[in-house]
């Protein structure tokens, strides 16, 4: 290796272990040009000496501390030099750029004007509370990391169907093959999440969030059991006695909470299992809040019958990146997937585990939300800036005297800025307290992973501190700059005759316009979405929600296909058809067994539950003659007695009958909105024909669908909860299928019937997976509750913005009238008509009002467009009308805010006014 190569290697190592590029950039930014190169070189030398004494991470911390210290000291030094306070010649100790005296002086100035100070603190606190609360929720949802050692290396390996966008699961055999070919991981594990019914000594503990996991999963998480042990390789082998792990909260809640639980037997899915360990409270892995773990075998010669539908997680080797992992997975993929058609593309996707359950859309939505709330803070800070500006004008004499006594401009700005900081410090504390209060109220409504907590942690506090600094900068720096500009130019001449010398108009006017613009945009955008959010999930029909239980039953993949053998298309279709027939038979048995119990009124199956969001599909509608129309609508599939189970009367026609409910039966029930939209009225719809397109058009045999005749019209039942204005949808007969929602109408409440339903399901089939269970009430309420919360947040933020802007406008007008009293007096004395005096005083305020409102409406349109692109649901109920209405509301409210000062102008006596100070 040549000497040059040696040097290059050394330099590369320096960049990697030494001063990072970001640090170098920061140093370049902060240090004066003549000091940069030497400081960098010396720092590298010092780092070289330190390296032998510290660990790698300790070294990183040390280096960053040095870099930040250099940046801070040199920036301070440069500011001093810039402000003419260079501590060279003439430097005195008491002339530091800020001192305790300044802080004391600023505090005294604030105490002297208590009303203004309290108003400013409250204003900023309100502005800070909402974004902090919003960020806290974001933090708990999106930026959470798993509570395991080096959890940033834990990833999920996903196969994503390119066209459909959904994730494809693996079979046990596919997983084993994949595991052998992956080289970038310390550990790879497979798991499958499901709802598991658990019973202890005959008493059902209900359906719990469970997971079947390969024993490697605990090695991956590097988390030991709290009591007992985690699964070992033997637990998953054939012939091993069935064992289970339980979560700490379940153990405390229902299993006695003492160590004797180890070795006891619980019934899991109707079979006895021995408890071998208790997992710690916040484990919950690999789901959000798993409480029961069962071992999953993927290697035994006789593959676990239910081992399909597996997901894969892994711990990356130190130094491996997500890009490398993705590239590797891409090379592994094509050889493995036998279950997708040749022309379907499967994308390899490796993502950090903690963020796996959150879509990028949701992150965008959350960021948009917090962004909207930060706007509120800017409005509040602009408001406080106006207050400060007005106060500084009143203090122009004092500032002039200090200038005359030798205070530099920097010193005055510092002091005024310190005042703003002193206001924002209690504001951030108060704001954080308000945010905490709001979060405590909000907590029950949010579904968070077990490992995340809704708390004001370091990241949230840092965010709050940044907000405080931002608000102090907005509220303090502009007014201070303005106030000291004239003061620096010998303003003493006006002191003592009551005049003020600080130009107040332009900055204050600009602040008002910005404030109005942001407020109109915020309230306007809230208006565009709020109605959609509030109406989310309203069906218009009263359903017996509390008495209806919904359980999703899933029969998995056909046993012939679970081993990952390669089969041709015909065999595959035959296997599925047979499997679906078995599922249908089991479903019929479960329904029959339940219906014969006196606690149950009716039982049915469907593909969709009212209130849950459903993607739109295209259908073809037969018109008069040969013409047909294509339309987008929602399609659900149901079995007979669906409407009876929900206590709903059909508006016209009849329900499906038993025996008709097989795929291919060419009849359909439509809802009222569909009938009115496409056929004019409910009675006119009967006998008309429609035809689903795409996937919905094919029965399981693959034959294209025939025309479907409308035999009944039902009321709208929440097929499109996001948009009641487009509630139209159709119900097709639900054929034999391996996955269906079991809908049970009970006599005494859904919760009490759950053990009975679980018992019947287990009696019929032990293989069926229960995906999720809820009452109809919950399934309707859950999405609606989240959206209503968000909508309420935005409307409250918008109203606060409105009030703040109006207060600001009022204060500005009142101040302007007071300041111009003498001028008004002179105008009146020389005979100006009242109208022209009013025009002079009001004109500017009204112009600002109109300008702010117009800009706000335009900004609102842009923001609403952006929001529509981000939010995954169609929630737009308003448009330009709402925005224009908001602008008008602001204009009217603003005019009213100006009225009181105007009345003062009208009541002025010219002689008195001229004598005013």
């Amino acid at each position: 290796m040549s000497e040059r190569d040696d040097r290059r290697v050394a330099r590369g190592a320096g960049a990697r272990d030494g001063i990072s590029r970001l640090a170098q950039w920061l140093l370049r930014l902060s240090l004066p040009a003549d000091a940069r190169a030497t400081v960098l070189r010396d720092l590298e030398e010092m780092a070289g000496a330190e390296r032998s004494r510290r660990s790698r991470s300790g070294m990183r911390v040390w280096l960053w501390r040095q870099v930040l210290s250099f940046c801070l000291r040199f920036v301070t030094e440069r500011v001093r030099e810039r402000l003419g306070r260079a501590p060279g010649v003439g430097h005195r100790k008491d002339e530091r750029w800020w001192s305790a005296l300044d802080v004391r002086y600023a505090a005294r100035a604030l105490v002297r004007a208590p009303v203004v100070s309290v108003a400013a603190v409250l204003c900023l606190a309100l502005g800070i509370a909402l974004p902090v609360a919003g960020f806290c929720v974001m933090n708990a949802l999106f930026f959470v990391s798993l509570p395991f050692p080096e959890s940033d290396r834990i990833v999920r390996l996903r196969d994503v169907h390119a066209r459909g966008g959904y994730e494809l699961d693996l079979t046990a055999v596919e997983y084993e093959r994949r595991r052998e070919r992956l080289s970038l991981y310390d550990v790879v594990a497979a798991y499958d999440l499901e709802e598991i019914d658990v019973a202890l000594e005959g008493a059902s503990l209900g359906l719990l969030s469970g997971a079947r996991v390969t024993p490697d999963l605990f090695e991956l998480a590097q988390t030991p059991a709290r009591i007992g042990r985690v699964f070992g390789p033997d637990d998953a082998s054939t012939g091993a006695g069935p064992v289970a792990l339980v979560g700490e909260s379940l153990w405390r809640r229902s299993l006695g909470g003492d160590a004797s639980i180890i070795g006891r037997t619980i019934l899991v899915k109707g079979r006895p299992h021995t408890v071998i360990g208790v997992m710690p409270e916040r484990f919950g892995f690999p789901g959000d809040r798993v409480e029961v773990w069962l071992p999953l075998s993927t290697r035994s010669p006789e593959i676990d019958a239910a081992s399909a539908g597996l997901k894969v997680a892994g711990r990356l080797r130190a130094g491996a990146t997500l890009e490398q992992a993705e590239a590797e997975l891409r090379t592994v993929l094509p050889a493995e997937r036998t279950d997708v058609a040749a022309d379907d593309v499967v994308i390899a996707d490796v993502i950090p585990f903690a963020r796996g359950s959150v879509s990028s859309q949701a992150v965008g939505f959350g960021l948009a939300m917090v962004g909207g709330l930060v706007v509120l803070l800017v409005i509040a800070a602009a408001n406080v800036a106006n207050l400060m500006l007005a106060r500084n004008v009143a203090r122009s004499g004092e500032l002039a005297v200090r200038t005359a006594l030798g205070a530099s401009r920097g010193r005055l700005i510092t002091q005024l800025f310190l005042e703003a900081m002193l206001l924002s410090a209690p504001a951030v504390v108060l704001g954080a307290m308000l945010a905490r209060f709001a979060l405590v109220k909000l907590q029950p409504a949010l579904v968070l992973p077990a490992w995340s907590r809704l708390e004001l942690d370091g990241r949230v506090l840092l965010f709050a501190a940044v907000l405080a600094l931002t608000s102090a900068l907005v509220a303090g720096l502009g007014p201070a700059w303005k106030a000291t500009r004239r003061a620096a130019h010998g303003a003493m001449k006006t002191v003592g005759r009551g005049g003020d010398t600080i130009g107040f108009g332009r900055l204050s006017g600009a602040l008002i316009v910005i404030e109005l613009c942001l407020s109109v945009a915020l309230l306007g955008v809230a208006g565009v979405f709020a109605r959609g959010m509030f109406e989310f999930g309203r069906t218009g029909v009263v359903l017996p929600a509390e008495n209806v239980l919904v359980v999703q039953l899933h029969w998995g993949a056909p046993p012939e296909l679970r081993g990952g053998q390669s089969v041709n298309g015909a065999e595959r279709r035959a296997a599925w058809a047979a499997h679906e027939r078995v599922a249908a038979r089991d479903q019929a048995l479960i329904a029959w067994a339940l219906a014969s119990d006196p606690a149950i009124r009716t039982v049915t199956y469907a593909s969709h539950v009212p209130g849950m969001p459903l993607a739109p599909s295209t259908i073809e509608i037969e018109g008069d003659g040969d013409a047909t129309v294509f339309a987008s609508t929602r399609i659900a599939s149901i079995r007979p007695a669906f409407f009876e189970t929900l206590d709903v009367q059909l508006l016209a026609g009849r329900d499906f009958r038993a025996g008709e409910a097989v795929a291919g039966a060419s009849i359909v029930i439509i809802n009222e909105s569909f009938a009115r939209r496409h056929f004019g009225s409910v009675p006119a719809a009967l006998g008309r024909r429609i035809r689903p397109q795409g996937n919905d058009a094919q029965s399981s045999s693959g034959a294209p669908a025939a025309w479907f005749e409308v035999i009944g019209v039902a009321p709208d039942l929440g097929l499109n909860p996001g948009d009641p204005a487009n509630a139209d949808g159709v119900y097709l007969p639900l054929g034999d299928i391996n996955i269906a929602e079991l809908i049970v109408h009970t006599r005494d409440g859904a919760e009490t019937a759950l053990p009975l339903v679980l018992g019947v399901v287990r009696d019929v089939s032990r293989d069926v997976e229960l995906q999720w269970t809820t009452t109809l009430a919950e399934s309707i309420r859950l999405p609606a509750r989240i959206f209503r919360g968000v909508a309420a947040g935005f409307v409250v933020a918008g109203i606060i913005a409105l009030v703040l802007s109006m207060l600001s406008l009022y204060a500005l007008m009142a101040f302007s009238v007071t300041r111009r009293t003498r001028e008004i007096g002179i105008r009146m004395a020389i005979g100006a008509p009242t109208r022209s005096v009013l025009g002079a005083v009001l004109g500017r305020g009204l112009r600002q009002l109109l300008l702010g409102a117009t800009l706000g409406a335009l900004l609102g349109i842009v923001l609403a467009r952006l929001a529509v692109a981000t939010i995954p649901f169609d929630l737009v109920r308003g448009g330009p009308i709402e925005l224009i209405a908001t602008a008008l509301l602001f204009t009217i409210a603003g005019t009213i805010a100006c009225l009181r000062p105007v009345r003062r102008v009208l009541g002025l006596d010219a002689m008195h006014a001229m004598r005013a100070d």
């Binding site: 190169a37 010396d42 250099f70 000291r73 060279g88």
Partner: protein, 106 residues
């Protein structure tokens, strides 16, 4: 131009340069102060102090480009005669202030 007394830290830096005894740069100065005072000091503070001392005309800085790492110059500092004079003055002031306090401060 009025002469003002040196700050404590500035004195430490000047004394460190004096102790090293020849033209030197930041790293040895830091090491010397840490060794003599037995406490860890902020590296950045040393560089800021050197800059100020240069502005006050108490040290003279020469940029030396070294052969071993091209493109990375090193700032070598040397004491000006006035610095020694100021240190002497400072010691005189302090000594006179300490005189007679032995009993109280023992």
């Amino acid at each position: 131009v009025a002469r003002h007394s040196l700050g404590e830290f500035e004195q430490l830096v000047l004394l460190a340069i004096l102790r090293i005894g020849e033209e030197t740069y930041g790293v040895p100065i830091v090491a010397e102060i840490e060794e003599q005072t037995g406490r860890e000091i902020s590296r950045a503070a040393v560089y800021v102090a050197l800059r100020r001392l240069e502005q006050k005309g108490l040290v003279c800085v020469r940029v030396e480009s070294s052969g071993e790492s091209p493109g990375k110059p090193r700032s070598m500092v040397r004491l000006m005669p006035e610095a020694v004079e100021r240190l002497r003055e400072s010691r005189r002031t302090l000594t006179s202030m300490w005189t007679g306090l032995e009993r109280v401060l023992r």
